[in-house]
Amino acid sequence: MEAAPAIDAEAEAELYRRFAPRVRLYGRKHLRDAHLAEDLMQQVMVVMLESLRAGRVREPERIASFVLSTCRMVVMDVKRTGARRQELLERYGEDLLPREVTESALALDRERLLACLARLAERERMVILASFFESKGADEVAAMTNLASGNVRVIRHRAIERLRACMGAGDRG
């Protein structure tokens, strides 16, 4: 195995800044829990940095691929830990939880969002609220809203595009 080049503190900090939020987002998607996502991020960052220092990353230029593989392995582990955490929470209560994890670095203007939501068509607003309230997929939202799954997807795409435009988020793609 070819040794990775030495990595200095500044490069490590840059890698952490770049990947920590993205790994956390990956965790939110796969674990649907801010605390578990935070656990995932911390574990993956440790593995990434230790592996780079030890020269265990075969292709440092493809670090994203390495991080993804690590995420997938750690997710399985975190899910097992999460199940134990949930057991403890049910037994000992929410007092054991650390302070609420502040997840989103992209704070949205609430009043502007409310105004933008009010401008959506009624069907669009219902699909958006139903989708996001419990992060439900199209099939489940369709069952809740008496719409077809395909319709839910189309309505959801359109509504989110409109919200981004209304919120001034800009877009590509």
Binding site: K29, A64, E103, L113, L114, M126, L147, R156
Partner: protein, 185 residues
């Protein structure tokens, strides 16, 4: 490096589907870890979700609901105050400090209705919701006003009309009167 070289970015619609549908692996995930632009757009979607969950829990948005959605909200622990009215009926209503949502069940003959609007008035102020979602087989329309509006309402009478809109014009299929007063212990 802020993102990929001239690789095409993931379309927004694909990001939306990725976020909501399925917990399995996706072919986009390596790109999402590598690309600042795409991960930022996904983070925006995630942030939107957090805001909307909070908006729903606090009743900060006017909502037209279905029975299925109302059941999910109640199952999630929201405290829902409900009023049921038939056409022509009136009800004395309020909102308690502990209520998260107030839902009006407006019963109406919905069979054969293609499109439904709701016109509500409080005094001289009229507000119209166009083409609301509804289940014709349920025989009712579920409306959840913004709780902050209800809390600020004081003593007021609101009249809501369901209007069936079709090729041959508009027809009022139900009128409902809400006599609102502040909550008293």
């Amino acid at each position: 490096m802020t993102g990929t070289s001239p690789v095409e970015h993931i379309p927004l619609a694909t990001l939306v589907d990725y976020w909501f549908d399925g917990l399995g692996e996706s072919p986009h995930e390596e790109h999402l870890l590598a690309c600042g632009d795409c991960s930022e757009r996904l983070a925006w979607i995630a942030g939107l979700g957090e805001e909307i969950r909070d908006i729903v829990k606090r009743g900060e948005a006017m909502m037209v609901l279905t029975g299925g959605l109302l059941k999910r909200l109640a199952a999630a622990g929201l405290r829902v105050r409900e009023y049921r009215l038939g056409p022509g009926a009136s009800v004395n209503c309020t909102i308690a400090p502990a209520d998260d949502l107030v839902v009006a069940h407006l019963e109406a003959p919905l069979a054969g209705v293609d499109r439904l609007d709701v016109v509500s008035s409080v005094g001289p102020v009229l507000h119209r919701l166009h083409d609301i979602p509804f289940d014709p087989s349920s025989g009712e329309v579920l409306l959840a006003p913004r709780t902050r509006d209800l809390r600020a309402l004081g003593h007021a009478t609101e009249v809501a009309r369901l209007i069936a809109v079709g090729a041959d014009g508009e027809k009022v299929i139900g009128e409902y009167t809400f006599n609102h007063s502040p909550f008293r212990e």
